[in-house]
Amino acid sequence: MSKQEEDDSLLRERQKEIVENIMEGLVAHTVDGRILIVNEAAEKFLNARFAEIKGKKIGEIDNPSQLLRAVFTPMEDRKELAFSFKDGLGQELFYQIIQVPLSQERGEILKIIRDVSRAKYLDRMKNEYITMMSHKILTPLTNIKWAAGILSGDNLDEQKKQGSVKNITDNANKLIEFTSHLLNIAEIEEGLFGYKFEKVDMAELAEEIIKNYRQEAFQRGIKILIDDPKKNFYFVRGDKNRLGSAMANYIDNAVKYSLDGGQIEASLHQDKYTVWFSVKDGGVGVSPESAGYLFTKFFRDKRAKAVHTEGTGAGLFIVKNIIEKHGGKAGYDPIKTGGSLFYFTLPTYKEEK
C-alpha cells in the first residue's frame, strides 16, 4: 500500500470507530427507506440488531419498536422531532430525531437519534421546584394582601387591627427567612459561604440561642432544658454566627414539631477530641423511611408536613453544610418512645501555635 492509501485506510478506520462509539444513534437509509447503516447507540435505542434489519424497509421488519417506526415517519430536514414512549416498566422515555440529507446522487438520508430523557427529567424537576417555591412565597403574600385589605376597611375594631398588623409582620418575616434560606442555598452551591473562625464557648452560645425561643415555648407550655450548661468549658474553633444558626435550626424544629406542654432537652458533652451538641424533643418524630433524606436540600418529612405544611425544609441542609465546614458531623437519632434527637459534633478547640 502506498503512503496515501495507508492514510486513507487509517482515516476510514477512525471514522468507523467514531460512528460506532458516539452517544447519538445513527441510522442511514435510502430515500425509499431501505436501511443502510445502524450504529451501536441506535441498536440500543431501537432495540434491534443491525445485522437483522440491514437492507430492509420498515414494513419488512418483524415487530419494530415504536422508536424505529418513528425514525421512518416523514420529517423535514434538520428539524428536531420529539418523540416520547413508555417503556416496558411504564417509564417515560424521550427522544429527538433529526433528519440530515447525505448523498443526493445516491439518494441517502441520515437520521440522528438523541436520548433526551435525562434532560427532560431535570427540566421537570426544575419546573416542580419553581412551582413549589412559588407556592411557598404566595401563601404569606396572600396573608399580607388580605390583612392589608382588612386594615383599609370599615368596621375596624382594635382586636382585628392588631391581629391584621401582627399577621403582616409575621408573614413578612416568614418571607424574609425563606428568601435568606434560598440565598444561603445559592451561596452554598457557589462555595461563597464565607466563614470567620474564632474561639467559641458552646454553652454560652447555646444559652443565647435558647433565650430567643423561651417566649414562644412558654406560650405553648413547652419547657426547654439545657443539660450541663457549664460555661468556660466546651470550646470549639468556629464561626459563631453560623454555629448559632445551626443550633437555632435544631431548637426551632424541636419547638415547631413539639406538642404543647412537651419538653425539649439541649445537651452538651465532650471527650478529648470532640464536642457534642444535641437537641431532644418528644414531638412528632421523623418517619423511618425519611431518616436518610433529612439533611438533603428542601426535603420535608411527611409527618412534618402533616403538622406544618409550609416549612421550607432548607434548614437541615444548611446545618449539615455549616457543621461539615467546621470539620464535624450532623445527624439524627430516632427516639423509641417518640420524638427526635438531632445532634452535631465538632472538634474541640486546639490552641494554634
Binding site: T131, N143, A306, V307
Partner: protein
C-alpha cells in the same frame, strides 16, 4: 340560604373567608385539615365546597377523588381556592371534578365572594 364548607389550613385566611361569606348571607362550616373537611362533607349537607389543595392530613386532590367516587357526594359542586397556579395543578383539579379554580393570591376576599355568588346564581343554587 346556601350552606358552604371552607377547607383551608391557614387560620387567618380561613377566618377572613368565613367572615366575608357570613356577611354575604351564607351558612358557613369550616375545616382546617383535609381529614376534618372530608368527615364534615360526609356527615352534613352542603351546597358548595371551597377546597384548598395543600392541606394537612389529606390533600385537596385526594378529597376530589373521594368525592367523585361516591354517588351522592359527587353531586356537590367544588370550587378550588389554592395558591398553586401551575397548569398541571389546575388541569388535574378540573379533571378530578372541580367546577372552578380560584388562585387566592390573585384575588381579594371580596372578589372571591363575588365569584362564589355568581357561580351559585349560575347553577341555580340559593
Amino acid at each position: 340560604m346556601a350552606k358552604l364548607i371552607i377547607i383551608e389550613d391557614d387560620p387567618f385566611l380561613l377566618s377572613i373567608l368565613a367572615e366575608k361569606l357570613k356577611e354575604a348571607g351564607f351558612g358557613i362550616e369550616m375545616a382546617a385539615d383535609g381529614e376534618d373537611g372530608l368527615n364534615k362533607i360526609k356527615s352534613e349537607d352542603f351546597d358548595l365546597v371551597l377546597l384548598d389543595i395543600v392541606l394537612p392530613k389529606i390533600n385537596g386532590f385526594k378529597i376530589l377523588e373521594e368525592l367523585r367516587g361516591d354517588n351522592q357526594l359527587k353531586k356537590i359542586p367544588v370550587i378550588i381556592l389554592s395558591n398553586l397556579y401551575d397548569k398541571n395543578s389546575i388541569d388535574k383539579a378540573i379533571l378530578l371534578g372541580a367546577k372552578e379554580y380560584i388562585v387566592k393570591a390573585y384575588n381579594t376576599p371580596e372578589e372571591i365572594v363575588l365569584k362564589i355568588k355568581s357561580f351559585l346564581n349560575k347553577e341555580g343554587i340559593n
